[in-house]
Symmetry: D3
Subunit: 313 residues, 6 copies
């Protein structure tokens, strides 16, 4: 594992060792959770949907009025350079993810404690997909359990989840509550009106009579995997609707699954202690996972198991 | 100014140079804004209300289920040791503040990228009060202007402001909006029902007919300076009520002021473009500021000017 | 009328006399309103949409986590058997309705007061359609008046109306309020946002420029007659939308009608004291009623009058 | 146990055997959860706070506009008569509770299925306190665990909990959710704003620095035991406040306890997986329980154990 | 009656005939309901609480940012002058009320249609109290009926009722709804949470066990008569609480009454179709009315009857 | 300019001079903001969409239960007559707008102060379009700036904006707040959930990837220009969606524009201090403006400049 400690991180213009990938306690990121980020993964060492992720990164920056001082092309080039610098550390079969972290930098009021000049913090990391992927290696076949924590999604008018920011203490609370309900369960938060919103870093889909349903794109992060699933479904002639969904609908669904950039899609086989559909991984899910894998040339579930076998959990 | 770069920071058990006061990008603090903090200041180099701040720190940790692995006495001792280690850097007349930052440490899912063992992040910094204090040096006499931004306080059921956490992107949004309304104005957020909640790191009081009013202690941080003002008022035989306050009440008030641990109390002379009372700093404010100063043996407004004169703005 | 007292009720596995169709005061049904039910009616002695009703029954049971210990086929068989046992009591022209009532049975904490074994309560009743039908016999021609009571629909996140449960005290309150506004008026409840939700056991449709509109399927019971009307409309090339509707829309509609399993559809000719459209029963309504009647082989309005003539009101 | 099957129940004017304490499926109670009730217990065979319970019963009837056709004195007399009729079945040491259930009777629209005359349903039962009491016999010493379910309290504007009605499906949902979080845990529901409301048939108190706090009397049943505790506390010179309480306050409390007519008061030693105070039964609780016991001449915790020993669980 | 047509109205600096008391259709008052007002009445030709009314007038102007170009002393003088100019038209026993109407004047964007110079509109009228008073002449003895309309009070964060403005279409809707529920009934609006707010130009009090309760001063006009009643009660040693009140509390009250500047206080004998207390005018009300009358030297109920006798209804 | 003072206003059946276009202070319009209105403009002296405006006028009257005593044809005829009477005052190139104002007339309770008979107030004015048009003459090319004020749109359940009434104090508050944020900026109000609602007398559209988006027709006035734009877009094969839009969507839009009957459409180039799209007037806007101009035979932007040149600002 020690090889990964050789990773080089892009840090505000320089490549630094992994151990230097640290942010000043005077940075807006730390003082106010005032940082945006993105997670992009590769398949076969090719970044997947990188442009979409970078677009969303710039959208988040725009909402938060952060001027990162890099144009979109510069940000992309820095990303590609960072990948190139680290690629030798990734053997075949082990994909990476690219993590962008951007804040407006240190709080200027504290300038007397800070080396000059003050500038935005831009971090680009290229990291092995190990942690998240190995932890779900069995889930592609066995499915996961979803629970509803007491914590509700923060309405977007208070803190807009469409900007992917680091102010996400409430996700941590939801994770802790879910663990108390059932170990290793996955929380899906309700919004203020009791509609399904999103997981703590994943979107949710229901399947009923061959049609896909997913929450409206307001109180959620508009996930890029979510969009990708919607586009795949269109190509597969599966109707998809963005609509209001309730726990009742979850209980009546034939299938359900979660989407995220890291593990792509995971089947849900239990909801609030009751089986989803017949409690088994369903055919629509399997078709989507297979199609995704074909698109990117990777057997996604198989890769996860191989990574786990090699890198332990 | 360079002297301050000699400061030593307590970092998870060790004293490190100021430049090393940096948090891993894999820390919960950064990834989820999942960190609690406190700011305590000194008067004449004596920590003020330190026990209250530490009590609240432990309360925040309890709400967030963070086990920092220090008992309260240990945390206090570490604090006192850190003060002692840094005190020589503070000349007379320059007070410090003590900043505590605590997270549950790096995200365990990423353990393969992290040096072992994983442990909570506990940072104690002793820093000059310069930034915040010099910026308000004139405000003790001239007062500040308050505006209502479009951003509303997040209701406590979504993200409890009584725990002083680093997930405060919404405060940053409020600050940006306030700056657009009027440069150097101070935002006070309304709660979901339109009642005054709090500033972006300060509490608010109104004075009407010799009585003090401050928002109920639910959708706000229960400020230690807020409590201190309430106790001072009691000693001065000024009635104080925690109640629901609206913009209407602000407009009808005789006086208003803001409280925070750094600058203690600041008078508000304008609200939403209209004068508060007669638009001048009022007598109740002055009496409270003077009393506070007497209690701690510092002429608070005077000290601010002197610090600004010496350390620039 | 006394003949009906000969009716046999299916009660947790046995057929009992009507007079024995009583539920223990220790049953969840009574102690907590914790019972689900369905009402299915016949046309020409044929159960109408029975499968849909049984599906919804099982959906309600699933939401409430009640295990009734009958599989869906067993429930259906028990239903058909109960119909058969009672059919001789129904002369031609008099249809019946089938009522299912299911609870999880007596509260186990009180087991010492209860005969053993404890088991779920499953009641299937086959009853004459007389009461509800005779009371509306004139309404097919004269229409009904709708009013908005002060009582609001309970949002589904508190008590989901999609499960047809017996906790419906609020419907009773709405009925009492409506009677105070105008005798024999029909309440339609607004939801928390002021949108039309549903009646106290019926759904509502508006007609404007040949298009049908009905509230979104969230804060309402998803009525089987409501669905049937939507399907009929599709066959008749009438567009139908599920959307947010407000009192304003009701006042601007050309026509309006209510749907329920018992009386099918009833025209609304007055809303909040003002005529709906021209205040007369409209052509879209008439076309729908006629189509429904043709589908089931019954002149629905005529049957109601005949039943009233024969069995009094 | 079989002796209790000899109990006589007052049923709309007559005393009937326990096995006949059943309500018609055509009764408002069953069809609409439209029934009010009360639970009063005895100590040493003396009804406790009976007048308060009857007052609240009549208040509930008034809110629901149910005319039970008994004046308050008649209701009380019927109650006393029913007690007298059943008292011989209760040996010393075994207290009873008196349960009142009142509905407006069968739905008049269904009169053709009903024996005449239609009249309100009034049931008075005198039952052994066994179930609830034996199940908590250990809790007086060991305390109970409280959890926050996802289900929220229904705001009183939708369904007023101050009227003790049988439409309480949502309490059942809360109980089921609590059992999934932790077996035998006790749910306390949050209201729409995230404030503590009540349990599923009990009120909640917090103790901090010798002062009692309990939720405001709006979105809750105004429990008679709750009132009794407030009065006891006044006599013991313990301040009591009805105020808004949040999970944060629960976590910061020194002690907490639940109140209900059956078991009086039970200590809470765990909240959301964390200890309350030091995780042990606290002195304020013990003082209140002892005082209560002295007032009624019963060692409450001891009685519970004896009943359990004798009547099993 | 024609004498009253001789009344002189103060209109932006001049006294004009009653028939000229008209506002341009280009005035903010008309175009945006953007006008504040006050109603002050006399007793024995002495203005009652005039200073309080003028204070509130200036408070409303301040909230709306209207500069009326009169200082408070000038406004008072203009008021007294207008009274003096009209007093000869009022015979003994006939009191007047003083009505202030102030807007920021015509919309400047339309200046080309307007005579110059543009200036605020300030109207002071001194009018006989006939209309409102004669219509309630019997109510002092017989009481009035209160109903809850479907219209809810607008929360103060949207439109602050503490400023007495002319944007009150919603009061008109409430009045129309109340008339449909019961002719001549008086609506009391609920706020968004179901708490009693206020009538359409009156405040409400409940009496229970000798204590007065009235809604909190947030979503209501802070009536000057309301304040006066609270002060009278204090002098009479009747406790008064501003608190949250619900329909349940109204139904449980011993007495209730309404307050307004015109008729002072009116007893409520029916609420939502049910008697308040015993359905008769209660002793607390009578004591308050009598005290008020003594304070101002007028038998208030008697005066109303005499005015009605003389001036018809 | 003095020529316009010759205008004749239709006032409840008569033509009166402009200076007599004044409303009694006893009128519902003034006392309760209880008046509905419409603004229709001409192009080349032809009324534009007059029938739609009159339809909406009657819809507003219906919602408010105002009987204006004119049938729709009579109202139209009166309108045409008033145009005809005033047309000679409008030279070529200067269009007019027609303003309808209707209230239920004076408050009957005050009948003793009023000339008889009481009747509804119906005012029809034909006025030059100068004010609004000249003020925006540059905006067709330079665009306008939009800001979000703290004031929120009143939800339709409290005060329905679909009826165009004169109770719009809250719009005035929004205008004042916007002016404080940025002089000459245009406020767009958020609704209670943070979705874009409408301006203070205009609707809003966003354009993204060639598709138009506009808020759902619930918490807004359903603008006739809004509808006209939607129909134009359909003819131009531009997709249009009514949907929920948030500040995030505004920031991500390529273009945005405002619609109103007076100036038709105005481009938005800045939102909350940040450029919309590239900060320039966009092609979709230009195409719509041009199409509109072609439809009505007027170069809309050019006309505005000419009017300003001639009639000053």
């Amino acid at each position: 594992m020690s090889d990964f400690l050789q990773l080089k991180i892009y840090f505000s213009g320089e490549l630094v060792p992994l151990s230097e990938a640290r942010v000043s306690i005077f940075d807006h990121a730390l003082m106010l959770g005032d940082m945006v980020f993105e997670m992009t993964r590769s398949f076969n060492h090719q970044p997947f949907m990188l442009d979409s992720h970078l677009d969303r990164l710039h959208a988040s920056l725009r909402l938060l009025e952060i001027d990162c001082r890099l144009t979109p092309p510069q940000m992309k080039q820095a990303t590609l350079d960072t990948i190139e610098a680290n690629l030798p550390l990734f053997e075949e079969g082990l994909d990476y993810w690219i993590r962008h972290d951007v804040s407006r930098g240190p709080v200027s009021l504290l300038h007397h404690l800070l080396p000059k000049p003050l500038r935005p913090t831009v971090i680009i990391s290229v990291l092995p997909v190990i942690g998240r992927i190995t932890s779900v290696a069995d889930a592609y076949e066995n499915g996961v359990h979803v629970v509803i924590p007491s914590q509700r999604a923060i309405p977007s008018r208070y803190l807009d989840p469409k900007a992917k920011t680091r102010s996400r203490q409430h996700y941590q609370m939801a994770n802790l509550q879910a663990a108390r309900i059932e170990e290793r369960s996955w929380p899906v938060l309700l919004d203020e009106h009791g509609y399904l919103a999103e997981g703590t870093s994943y979107n949710v889909f229901l399947v009923k009579d061959g049609t896909l349903y997913t929450p409206e794109p307001h109180n959620i992060l508009r996930g890029i995997s979510r969009t990708y699933v919607m586009e795949m479904a269109a190509r597969l002639a599966l109707p998809v609707y963005e609509t209001k969904l309730e726990p009742y609908d979850f209980l009546m669904a034939d299938e359900a699954f979660l989407t995220a950039s890291s593990y792509t899609i995971l089947p849900v086989v239990q909801f609030e202690g009751r089986p989803v559909g017949d409690g088994k991984v369903g055919p629509v899910y399997q078709r989507l996972l297979q199609t995704w894998g074909e698109q990117v040339g990777v057997d996604i579930a198989d890769q996860a198991k191989k990574i786990r076998a090699k890198y332990g959990e």
